[in-house]
């Protein structure tokens, strides 16, 4: 074997062995860390103990909270459902579309609600108002069927929303609140 070939073979070995040996040395106390970075580990464990900003961001992710009671005007049929949402990420989140059908306790369609396209800045807390209209006659009929109940439980069906290009469809969210019937 000539000198050049020997030198090139040595170089090939060093190129492969060097980084692997370095990696094993750095992670000698945490072998699992070689394939599981802190971000993925915190995602799998469901807590923010990864220590990075990324894990903190994800652990602070809370689903939208209903801030106030559902509001309904029996005279106009206007309904509004405010909920607040905090964006814990370092990037903005855009709700491009949200719509749902409002149904009574026994699945009778009452109307629709939707929210306009909303962009939430990093770390911002916003109140998103889902608004829509219900059919007053159907609401009255349903109340009459329920022995003149003063309040009517409502649910949401065919909930569609688009967050950051990901479309989510939920068949039903039961008992989101109750509306006065008159």
């Amino acid at each position: 074997m000539n000198k050049v070939k020997f030198a090139l073979t040595l170089l090939s070995i060093a190129i492969i062995v060097g980084p692997i040996a370095g990696l094993l040395y750095v992670y000698r106390d945490n072998v699992v860390g070689i394939v599981l970075p802190p971000q993925v580990k915190s995602l799998l464990s469901g807590n923010g103990s990864g220590g990075s900003q990324f894990s903190q961001d994800l652990s602070n992710f809370n689903s939208p909270q209903s801030g106030e009671q559902l509001q309904y005007n029996p005279d106009t049929g206007a309904i509004s459902y405010p909920f607040n949402f905090t964006n814990p990420l370092t990037t903005q989140i855009s709700f491009d579309q949200m719509s749902a059908e409002v149904v009574g306790g026994n699945g009778v369609p009452l109307g629709n609600v939707s929210i306009p396209a909303t962009t939430i800045a990093p770390g911002a807390n916003v109140i998103i108002n889902a608004t829509g209209n219900l059919n007053e006659n159907t609401v009255s009929q349903l109340a009459a069927q329920n022995s003149g109940a003063s309040k009517l439980n409502i649910s949401l069906e065919n909930v569609n929303f688009d967050v950051g290009g990901v479309k989510v469809h939920i068949n039903q969210i039961s008992n989101v609140g109750s509306i006065p019937t008159g």
Partner: protein, 201 residues
Amino acid sequence: MMNRRINWLGLAAGITTLIMLAVSFYLPWWQLTIGENLFKINASPVYTNFGLFGAQFTIPLIWALNLITILTFTACGVVMLLYSLLPTEPYAKELLGFSYRKPLYTVVSFAVVLIIIILVAGHFGLNIPLMGSATVTLPGTSSMGVTISALVSGNFQLSFWLAIIAAALCIAARLYHSHVAKPSITPETAVTPVNTAPINA
């Protein structure tokens, strides 16, 4: 003055390899985007990383493999340049043998691994496009009354095409080697001997 022989294809291969390496630091070979940058995979033998909600991270093992590829491409590019300028030296064939195969092996391995990953994902109901866009529905969610779907787009980037060009030039340099390394015919040997015997009248 003696004419210096150069393997021009090898020179082009070496330069292209080093340019491709530099470009690969900024552009992945293949990029997968889910939603509006909600989740991103930047796949490359040089720098593979993942993006989730705008935050980027990498896996240490992949980082080490990337470092091996970076060092390999650097060595290949430099050795190929060296060979190109000295193709007639006795050790030229060793230099060429070291540098011409690796870019091709890397491109082929990358493509094969990528195709295998996409086929495996498809087997689990995730039909990820290798090139182009498609709406992918997360499997197993409809039974719970929730359906999650997203626009997924996969694309090969400039650095991948540069890698193919570099690999092709390396092969061309190997094929051209026999032409460059062929011993040249000196003027002395090229001249036909003249018959100097006296002509008898």
